[in-house]
């Protein structure tokens, strides 16, 4: 482990605005560690996020940052990667951000399969807006808004992603730091869309799904064939104790960027490309007929 290199990805002089003991600290640490271990330079990495506690993560990272709108990290992340495939692009945010407000983008980003890593801090609650239910909150979860407890079924992002044949689907719990670092590394290295749903305790607003709860209700997959989609789906829909680890991987899928002809014909970055003026002249001429 090149733990000391993680310092490259630390934002100096800024203290995270999270509550003491929040699971987000561990995710931040895991991500810094993963980036360092992959020997990336800060200049190569763009973290795109939405709005929420989780979405603040890039504020505390020494990388390029696109901190956009609530729910809208995936579209700009896709575009950034499409315009400059040399960049390592990570989209990061909370469960409300990515599965609620941005749910439609979640589905369609899987369809496109851009080569980006999708990190979702899943604390099963809306942290920043002070404790309302999220799309992953369990039925019965009481909040000041859901006064009788949540009555809708939670979303199962892992099963959903597998059902859409997402090219990499994993789940982890930030309390298992080492495994989380490994999974994030694999997700970043994976060529294509990679979802990592990260269980993250919110110590302030979720008194049900605590550190202890996650420890007691999760276990790591063993002897699972990540290329078996049916098995992956079965494992993803297990209840009671929830499996962690890589559920599914489909490496051979072409990425969105690979399918774009703009990168097949020309390799120069978008920035330094110029207009084909002769062709434009010709095209205008065709309107004489």
């Amino acid at each position: 482990m090149k733990e000391k290199d993680a310092i490259n990805f630390k934002q100096k002089g800024i203290k995270p605005a999270w509550c003491p003991g929040c699971g987000n600290f561990l995710i931040l640490k895991a991500l810094q560690q993963a980036l360092a271990e992959l020997s990336l330079k800060p200049q190569q990495v763009v973290v795109v996020s939405g709005i929420g506690q989780a979405a603040k993560t890039p504020q505390y990272l020494n990388v390029h940052m696109f901190n956009g709108l609530h729910g809208r990290a995936l579209p700009p992340a896709t575009a950034i990667k499409a315009c400059n495939p040399l960049l390592t692009v990570i989209a990061e945010g909370g469960d409300g951000d990515m599965y609620g407000e941005g749910g439609n983008h979640f589905l369609h980003t899987i369809r496109r399969n851009p080569d980006l890593t999708h990190l979702v801090h899943n604390n099963m609650v809306y942290g920043l807006t002070k404790g309302q239910a999220s799309p992953t909150s369990e039925p019965g979860f009481k909040t000041p808004v859901q006064v009788d407890g949540v009555i809708s079924e939670p979303i199962n992002p892992v099963a959903l992603a597998i059902s859409l044949d997402a090219s990499f689907v994993a789940r982890t719990f930030c309390g298992n730091l080492e495994q989380t670092v490994e999974i994030i590394k694999k997700a970043i290295r994976h060529p294509g869309y990679a979802l990592v749903d990260i269980f993250q305790p919110c110590v302030t607003f979720n008194k049900i799904n605590t550190f202890k709860w996650f420890q007691e209700h999760t276990y790591f997959l063993e002897g699972h064939d990540v290329h078996d989609r049916n098995q992956a789906f079965l494992r993803a829909t297990e209840t009671g104790k929830l499996p962690l680890g890589i559920f599914y991987q489909h490496e051979k899928k072409k990425t969105f960027e690979q399918k774009l002809t703009v990168h097949q014909e020309q390799k120069t970055p978008f920035l330094s490309r110029s207009i084909n003026r002769e062709r434009l002249e010709e095209l205008i001429k065709t309107r004489q007929f």
Binding site: H64, M65, G68, C83, L87, H108, F270
Partner: protein, 584 residues
């Protein structure tokens, strides 16, 4: 027969209307006929109105043919080709006494006099019913003494790429059959061509271009260096998306049909961040969904080009029709305070040029720039002389970053801080939709907040200075000044030509926001200002009043979903002047 076309001799042009159901091929007739007539040496104008359905309904296309440049629709119809039972009814309010109707009498049900031409029977004789349209093209070409040779060559080219030889040969037969039929009508004195004395051909126009507003916007985008478009289909804005997709390979453009407009605009902003030149094309409801993204562009100081093709609202409104009803939407969309530019092309050339200007200004000022068009602009074309390709390389306002780069460095001229791109230079590029410090990191420090608000809005100063001056058409010593913006330019111009009053002029705005400070002088000099807009509330005159303090009392407004007609508008202007008796 009487001299049936005497009206046309007065008008110096002929107005042809083809009317029928969707799916009957009116579009093909329009496409072919206008090209053939132009190649024959005429000026042509074409526009269409259609229902929001793929089959059936009543749709019409107007083609005006003239020996002088002609760029506006008129209500008057000289020659009507009804293609189904409903057609005559659909345009009944526009049928004058001298109208010539040519059609398949059997298929029509009318007490109007119809000159019978059995298009369908003739087509079946050649081989297939679908040739009926080409026979109609031949007939019209013949009546207008168009060049049948040029017609043949054009038709061959038009079909050869897609169709079998036999099909092409039959089509040429159909064209010739129609042409002969025209000669018959003339010989039998059913239609008098001798009454087109003013319709002279000129070899000058042969090389003119024919392209509609959607194509002009698309070409302008390419010329402006656009290499990314993400959008969601919505009439009437889709034509631009389709156009850029057609030429995406030639010009290396990423074209993405997004899952919704929210995604589309956020992608476009992401693309600019990564060094591309991106745009979205959208309409009414689609743009409503984009407004949060617009505000993001304002906050992170991202360039952005938004083509907003207006259609009548609210909500789904009239999907395939025209209106200038979204000016205030573009003006006020997006929460918070940030600068923007709104451009509104008045013709094909302006659409092409303003699109380039939009990319340039968006990049230079790091702001969203709107191009506001409408269905009428998208679907209309007429002869234009040329579109010139930019001579210089596209100017980019991007810097290579240093290690200590700060995206929102304060203290730059007019609020501008150099824009870096991730991966270009050693710096880190941070943009944040939260209020941010110079680094781009979230802050709630109130003094920074103040300075950032002032930084963003300091751009106004330069934007106002560079605003395009409205164009004055007509006398400088006007008493009555008609004011228009965007697509109404040529329609108002023709209306004024028709009135031919020495003391009237037209002030056309191709930039509607911010308006040029010179506007006030133009307005002050008028005794009466008449604002003419395709909407209910006179949105632009409200804006002008707010910005200049001059009140505009005379308004001519139209909001039925159709563009103004030059002939009707002339009458309305006359009425308004008379009613008003010289008041502002």
């Amino acid at each position: 027969m009487k001299k049936v076309i005497s009206q046309i001799t007065l008008e110096q042009d002929i107005s042809i209307v083809l009317c029928g159901e969707a799916g009957q091929g009116i579009q093909t007739v329009e496409q072919l006929l206008t090209r053939m007539l132009k190649l024959s040496g005429y000026y042509v104008f074409a526009t269409k109105e259609y229902m929001s359905r793929v089959r059936g309904g009543s749709n019409s296309t107007q083609i005006r043919v003239s020996s002088k440049p002609i760029q506006a629709p008129v209500s008057r119809i000289d020659l009507l080709i009804p293609l189904d039972k409903e057609a005559i009814n659909h345009v009944s309010s526009r049928l004058g006494e001298r109208i010539i109707i040519i059609g398949d009498q059997e298929k029509l049900d009318t007490d109007k006099k119809v000159i019978n031409v059995s298009f369908l029977k003739m087509a079946q004789e050649i081989g297939k019913a679908i040739y009926a349209n080409i026979i109609a093209v031949g007939l019209l070409l013949g009546l207008l003494e168009g060049d049948i040779k040029a017609g043949r060559v054009f038709l061959k080219d038009y079909f050869t790429q897609k169709k079998k030889e036999e099909f092409v040969a039959d089509n040429i037969k159909a064209l010739e059959r129609g042409y002969q039929e025209a000669k018959r009508l003339i010989e039998e004195n059913l239609v008098q061509v001798g009454s087109f004395p003013h319709l002279k051909k000129s070899s000058k126009v042969e090389n003119n271009l024919l392209l509609n507003g959607a194509e002009a916007i698309g070409l302008g985008a390419i010329a402006g260096g656009c290499n990314f478009i993400s959008s969601y289909p919505m009439s009437p804005s889709t034509g631009v998306l389709v156009f850029l997709a057609q030429y995406a390979h030639d010009f290396n453009i990423i074209v993405e049909q997004a899952e919704d407009e929210i995604s589309a605009i956020n992608m476009a902003i992401g693309a600019w961040y990564a060094g591309a030149r991106a745009m979205v094309t959208t309409s009414g409801g689609g743009f409503s969904l984009m407004t949060e993204g617009l505000s993001l562009a304002g906050m992170i100081e991202s360039p952005l080009v938004i083509h907003l093709a207006q259609r009548p609202g609210p909500a789904t409104g009239l999907p395939t029709r025209t209106e200038q009803g979204d000016l205030h939407l573009a003006l006020y969309a997006g929460h918070g305070e940030f600068p923007r530019i709104i451009l509104a092309p008045g013709n094909i050339e302006e659409a092409y040029q303003l699109m380039q200007k939009a990319f340039y200004w968006a990049d230079q000022f790091q702001i969203p720039v709107f191009i506001l068009t409408d269905q009428y602009t998208m679907d209309t074309y007429y002869n234009i002389e040329r579109l010139s390709v930019p001579q210089e390389e596209t100017v980019r306002f991007i810097i290579k970053t240093d290690y200590d780069y700060q995206r929102y460095k304060l203290g730059g001229k007019d609020g501008l801080s150099p824009r870096g791109i991730p991966g270009f230079g050693e710096g880190l590029v941070r943009v944040d939709s939260d209020e941010h410090d110079e680094m781009g990191l979230i802050t709630e420090d109130m003094s920074i907040r103040n300075r950032m608000v002032e930084k963003r809005n300091a751009k106004w100063h330069q934007l106002k200075k560079e605003a395009l001056i409205p164009t004055l058409t007509g006398t400088k010593d006007y008493r009555v000044l008609c004011v228009g913006w965007g697509s109404t330019y040529y329609i108002i111009k023709e209306a004024l030509d028709r009135l031919d009053k020495p003391d009237m002029a037209l002030l056309h705005f191709q930039q509607v926001y911010p308006i040029s400070e010179t506007s006030i002088d133009f307005l002050k000099r008028a005794k009466q200002i008449i604002s003419i807009e395709n909407n209910y509330s006179g949105q632009f005159s409200q804006l002008l009043e707010m910005q200049t303090g001059i009140s505009i009392r005379s308004r001519i407004l139209k909001y039925d979903g159709l563009p103004f007609y030059a002939d009707e508008l002339a009458e309305e202007i006359k009425d308004v002047i008379e009613e008003n008796g010289g008041q502002k």
